[in-house]
Amino acid sequence: MTKRIEARFEQCRAEGRAALVTYVMAGDPDPETSLQILKSLPKAGADIVEFGLPFTDPMADGPAIQAAGLRALKVGQDTVRTLDLIRRFRAEDADTPVILMGYFNPIFVYGVDRFLADAKEAGVDGLIVVDLPPEEDDELCLPALKAGLAFIRLATPTTDDRRLPAVLANTAGFVYYVSITGITGAATPDFGKVATAVERIKRHTPLPVVVGFGVKSGAHAAAVAEGADGVVVGSALIDALKNTLDAEDRATAGTIEAVTKLVKELSDGVRSVAKRAAA
C-alpha cells in the first residue's frame, strides 16, 4: 500500500545514498506557482515531496511556515484545491511519493472518510498530521491505514524508549525524526547526535528513518545524510521562495528557480555521502 514510498527508498539504497524529502506549502504564493514548484522538485533532485495543507493555527511551526500558510489561505487555497494540485502533479509523475502534511482540523472538517478517499484518488501516498499523537490513532491513523495511505509519525527527542513502540506501532512508509525539541525552521541541531538518535529508533523498527528540522544547506544535508535514511527540508525552501516575492507577496520571475536552486544544492549534499547499499 505504500508502494511508491517503498520503491523510492529501495532506489536510494541501491544508489547508496540517503533520500531527499522536500516540503513546500500548497498554494504558496499562488496555486499555479506552487504546482510548478512541486513539479520541478523531483527534477531538481527531490526523492519524496511533502505538500503542506495550509492551516490558520499551525502550533508546531515557526514563522516561515506560518507565513506560507497564511499566504496560501489569502489567495483562497483550501483542501479541495490542494488535492486538485496533487491530481495534476500525479498526471505527469507516476513515481514520486507525495506526502500531505498539516494539522487535523481541516481534515476533520472535510470528513475523514471522504478525505481519505479523495486523497487516495488524487495520488497521495502518505499523511503527516502534526497534532495526532498515537493516543488519537482512532481519529485518522487507523482509517488511513485501512484506506491504503501511510500514516507517517513524528518521533522526537522526548520520545523515549518506553514510548517509541507506541509511536511506531501504526506507522507506515517511514519514520520522521524531528531532530530538535522546537518548532520548524528554528534552531540547527547538533548533527553529531542525529546518527545516535536514528540508531535508537532503528532498534525498534525496520522502516526508513528520515530526519528534519533545522536543515538549511547542502552541508547540513550531507551531515544528516551520514546517519539517516533521508533528509527533510522545509523552512529553508520556504525562506528561499519568500525572498523572491514582491511587496504584495506575489511570485516573480525568480521564484521557482530560487527553490530549485536550493533543492539542487541539498541534493548534491545528500549525494555527496556514499552509504553502503543494503544487502
Binding site: 493555527d57 506560518q66 482540523n105 472538517v109 497534532d131 518521533a155 522526548t158 524531528v178 525539541t181
Partner: protein, 406 residues
C-alpha cells in the same frame, strides 16, 4: 433537552483519554505528549495528597482571601422585580478575578514537579496577572504571551505584569489575540519542554488541562452551595456565568450539575451580534480540533479558524472548553449570548445600583440576568458569578461611552 441519553451523573467526566462525550482529547505534537502524560500523573498524585490540599487551603485563605462572599444584590433584585439575585464575588479575590484559583493550583503543582520556568497565555490579562503574581510569590521565572491587540487594549494589566517581574511577549502572528497567544505559548513549550510548565488559563487545551483547571475552579461552586444553604436554607434555583473558555462558569456549575432541578445558564459573547462578528462558539460554531482538544469552534467551511470578536478581551476566543461543548450537546446547560452593547448596559446598571464595577466579562452574564430575573417569581434564587472587577476595562468602557478619562 436533546434526545441523547442522559448520564446518571454529569460529574464523572472526562474518561481516561480525556473525552467528554466526543469532545476533549489530546491533539498535540509528539514532542509535548511525554510532558502531558507526566503532568497527568503528577496531577493525579497531587490530587490524592492531603499535603497538596493543605497548601491549597492555606494560600486560598491567606493569600487569595477566600472564601469570596455570596452577596445578596438587593437593589438589582428590586430593580428587576423578579428573582432574588445573589452575586458570587470572585472579583474580590487577590488580583481581581477568579483566574487566581486555578493559577494557585497549577503553580503549586509546578513546584512539586520541580519546574522553574512558567509560561502562560492571556487575553484580558487577568490570567497573566494571576500567573505573574504567584510566580513572584514563589520565585519562579514567568513569561506571558499576549496578543499584540490585547496588549494595546489592556495596558493596565501589562503594566501590572511588568511590575510583578514577568516578561510579557506581545504576539504578532495571526489575528494577534488570545488564540495566537496560545499558539505561541505552545510553540514555547515545544521548544522548552524539559524545564517549563505551561499554566493554561482556562478549561481548554489537551487533557488533563480541562479537568484540572475545572477542579481548581470548583471552589467557586462548592462555596456557593454552603453559602446559599446558610443564607436561605436551600440550594439556588438558577446559576448564570459568562463564558469565553469557560473556567469561571464550569467552576460555579460543576458542583451543581447533578442537582437536576437547578437551571444553569452560560453566556457567550455575541460581539456585534450573532449574524456579525462575535465570539459565541456554541451559538455560531461547530465541532473541530484546535489547541489540543475537540470542541465547538468558529471556523470557515475549510476548517480555518475565524476571528472572534468581543468587546471583552477575556471572551475573545474562537473556541470553548470541551466540557461545555458536551454539556451543550446533552442539554444540561443552556447557553445564551449577550452583545457588546448589552454587556455595556449591564455594566452601567450594576455599577450604579450595587456600587460594584464588574469586568466586561461578567457584564455579559449580568446582561442575561436582566432578561431572566424579571421572568422568575420572587422566591427564585439566582446566582451570578461576578468573575472579575471592571477596573482593567475602564479606559475601554470610557471610549465606548464617548468619555475621555484623561
Amino acid at each position: 433537552m436533546s434526545a441523547q441519553a442522559q448520564p446518571n451523573s454529569f460529574r464523572t467526566g472526562p474518561d481516561e483519554r480525556g473525552h467528554f462525550g466526543q469532545f476533549g482529547g489530546r491533539f498535540v505534537a509528539e514532542t509535548l505528549m511525554p510532558n502531558i502524560l507526566e503532568l497527568e500523573k503528577a496531577y493525579e498524585e497531587a490530587r490524592n495528597d492531603p499535603a497538596f490540599h493543605a497548601d491549597m487551603a492555606y494560600f486560598s485563605t491567606h493569600y487569595i482571601g477566600r472564601p469570596s462572599p455570596l452577596y445578596f444584590a438587593e437593589r438589582m433584585t428590586e430593580h428587576l422585580g423578579g428573582a432574588k439575585i445573589y452575586f458570587k464575588r470572585e472579583e474580590l479575590n487577590h488580583t481581581g478575578a477568579h483566574k487566581v484559583n486555578n493559577v494557585l493550583g497549577q503553580i503549586l503543582l509546578a513546584r512539586r514537579m520541580g519546574k522553574k520556568r512558567i509560561i502562560a497565555e492571556t487575553g484580558a490579562g487577568q490570567h497573566g496577572v494571576a500567573t505573574a503574581t504567584l510566580c513572584a510569590r514563589f520565585g519562579l521565572d514567568c513569561v506571558v504571551y499576549m496578543g499584540a491587540v490585547d496588549v494595546e487594549r489592556q495596558k493596565p494589566n501589562v503594566f501590572r505584569m511588568n511590575m510583578l517581574g514577568a516578561k510579557v511577549v506581545p504576539v504578532q502572528s495571526g489575528t494577534r489575540t488570545l488564540k495566537d497567544a496560545m499558539n505561541e505559548a505552545l510553540r514555547d513549550w515545544v521548544t522548552n519542554v524539559s524545564d517549563t510548565f505551561y499554566c493554561i488559563g482556562t478549561v481548554a487545551g489537551p487533557h488533563p488541562y480541562p479537568a484540572m483547571v475545572r477542579d481548581f475552579q470548583c471552589v467557586i461552586g462548592t462555596e456557593t452551595r454552603e453559602q446559599m444553604m446558610e443564607a436561605e436554607g436551600r440550594l439556588p434555583d438558577s446559576l448564570v456565568a459568562c463564558i469565553g473558555g469557560g473556567s469561571n462558569a464550569i467552576g460555579l456549575f460543576h458542583p451543581f450539575l447533578d442537582d437536576k432541578d437547578i437551571e444553569i445558564y452560560g453566556v457567550e459573547a455575541a460581539g456585534h451580534g450573532l449574524d456579525k462578528l462575535h465570539a459565541a462558539s456554541l451559538s455560531g460554531g461547530r465541532p473541530g480540533v484546535l489547541h489540543g482538544n475537540r470542541t465547538y469552534l468558529l471556523m470557515d467551511p475549510d476548517g480555518q479558524i475565524q476571528d472572534a470578536h468581543s468587546i471583552s478581551a477575556g471572551l475573545d476566543y474562537p473556541g470553548i472548553g470541551p466540557e461545555h461543548a458536551w454539556l451543550h450537546e446533552i442539554g444540561r446547560v443552556t447557553y445564551l449570548s449577550a452583545t457588546d452593547q448589552e454587556a455595556l448596559d449591564a455594566f452601567q446598571l450594576c455599577s450604579r445600583l450595587e456600587g460594584i464595577l464588574p469586568a466586561l466579562e461578567p457584564s455579559h452574564a449580568l446582561a442575561k440576568v436582566m432578561e431572566l430575573a424579571p421572568q422568575k417569581p420572587k422566591d427564585h434564587l439566582m446566582v451570578v458569578n461576578i468573575s472579575g472587577r471592571g477596573d482593567k476595562d475602564l479606559f475601554q468602557i470610557a471610549e465606548h461611552l464617548g468619555n475621555q478619562i484623561v
